[in-house]
């Protein structure tokens, strides 16, 4: 990326004041990136900005409370940072934010689907429009638009909302201006029994690994999550679909008015359960009822932590 060097320069400048800067670098094969912790000058060069940088690095921030941390963010990641700041889960003074214009990230499961078996990846060459992946000496040419993550297609915040250093040219807000809930709306039109059955079928393969929770930047309860506690005892530890689904509802409700739809929960799911839809549904209703979007404005209060005496958009049942 063009501005990668510029970004490195910014980090170099800020690093002496910081304990660590979190960015991305190459991973076990050319098709993957991994979070990269920059402690010293020697780590800076490894930093890479590419469409492979799927991870929302804001997830690390609450766990590093008290340290001076730099973090490189995509537009969507920056909303998580805003939300964390808003909820005072991190302190603005401790955080240095590096932003850049993001053109979208690649959905590995789409790549997998397009290529079939992804074994020994030898190289991955990317241009603005396409990428060529060589797997077991066989080159596969893919259009970038085909393997772009769903959320990126309707991205409304490509530039970091908040940053101390911003490199590259800002991308003007893309259309559509409204969140894209077409898939969700299609699902909502199904018969109730189909919806009910759908979740049971999907959640059936959940292995209760809680990767969704670990990847979520706003799941800040961590070890104290009510999924595994005895007091309160919301869920059993049995392998049953009821508790698996219940956990997803808990997650969605706890995210109500807070979730920025970064999609990390779904990306992290090893068995590809489409759990982002539950959060999208919650967000859609939050937008409808409270005209509110999370992680956009530092001064906002999440709607479930406040109220109005008269709620314009709530019509109560007339008995």
């Amino acid at each position: 990326m063009k501005f990668q060097e510029e970004l490195k320069e910014s980090i170099r400048k800020a690093l002496p004041e910081l304990d660590v800067v979190i960015g991305w670098c190459g991973s076990f094969d050319p098709l993957h990136a991994t979070p990269h912790f920059i402690y010293g000058e020697e780590d800076i060069e490894k930093l890479e900005i590419s469409p492979l940088n799927v991870h929302n690095l804001a997830t690390y921030l609450p766990g590093m409370r008290g340290k001076k941390v730099g973090v490189v963010v995509k537009g969507c990641d920056s909303r998580s940072v805003v939300e964390l700041l808003q909820e005072k889960l991190i302190s603005r003074d401790d955080i240095t934010i590096f932003g850049f214009p993001c053109t979208g990230v690649i959905d590995q499961s789409k790549v997998k689907k397009a290529i079939g078996y992804v074994g020994n990846v030898q190289s991955c060459d990317m241009s603005d429009e396409s990428l060529v992946v060589v797997v077991d000496d066989k080159p596969h040419s893919l259009k970038l638009s085909e393997v772009l993550a769903e959320k990126c297609k309707s991205c409304r915040y490509p530039d970091a909302i908040i940053s101390d250093y911003f490199v590259g040219d800002r991308i003007a807000k893309k259309d559509p201006a409204e969140p894209n809930y077409k898939e969700l709306e299609k699902f909502e039109k199904l018969a109730v029994s189909e919806r009910f059955g759908y979740w049971l079928k999907e959640l059936d393969r959940c292995i209760r690994c809680y990767a969704c929770r670990s990847a979520c930047p706003l799941c800040v309860c961590r070890d104290h999550c009510i999924a595994e506690s005895r007091d309160p005892h919301w869920l059993s530890q049995e392998n049953n679909v009821r508790d698996k689904l219940m956990f997803q509802v808990i997650h969605a409700y706890h995210m109500a008015g807070r979730c920025t739809e970064c999609g990390e929960c779904q990306r992290a799911c090893p068995v590809d359960i489409p759990i982002l839809m539950l959060k999208q549904k919650m967000n859609k209703e939050v937008l409808d009822i409270f005209n509110y979007e999370a992680g956009v404005n530092l001064k906002d209060t999440p709607p479930l932590l406040s109220f109005k005496m008269e709620e314009e958009n709530i019509t109560e049942k007339d008995w």
Partner: protein, 155 residues
């Protein structure tokens, strides 16, 4: 105890101690006849109600859930029902995606003096749930346990 087969459905009520529980008492003192399906759980305030209780009840097999608190501005704790209104509203709007009909869960406000209103709310809500019929139940640990039952029911 299981519900009376063919007669009752499982309806859970969460009522705030100060207004609605009192309203239900007032209805009782006034001998205002009501359907027998509803079972009331008393909580100090509608603001105490975690909407997840409602989901829990439904997933555990309730056919309907009714929440009632003090009228807005009359909350014993001044603000509890204002928070409750937001939380309950969002959960009410969310539930359909899980496959629960919108009418399975309702919330309302009944004051301690509104015995008649309480009678009306219970009667109407019970009626509404009976119209919807039994809610889908999750049985057994595997999805297939439930799904095959659902399919059998369709046939």
């Amino acid at each position: 105890m299981p519900v009376l087969e063919g007669k009752e459905l499982r309806i859970v009520g969460f009522l705030c101690n100060w207004c609605s529980y009192g309203g239900a008492d007032t209805a009782g003192v006034g001998r205002f006849n009501q359907p027998t399906d509803l079972r009331i759980i008393k909580v100090p305030c509608s603001g105490r109600i975690d909407p997840l209780f409602i989901v829990k009840a439904l997933m555990n097999g309730a056919d309907g859930v009714l929440v009632s608190g003090c009228h807005p501005r009359d909350c014993h704790y001044s603000e509890g029902n204002f928070y409750a209104r937001r939380r309950l509203e969002i959960m009410q709007k969310f539930l359909p995606i899980l496959g629960y009909e919108p009418g399975r869960f309702e919330y309302t406000w009944v004051s301690a003096s509104e015995g008649q209103r309480w009678q009306q709310v219970v009667t109407e809500f019970t009626d509404q749930i009976h119209k919807l019929g039994p809610a889908p139940k999750i049985v057994g640990p595997e999805a297939s346990d439930t799904l095959s039952l659902m399919q059998a029911a369709l046939k």
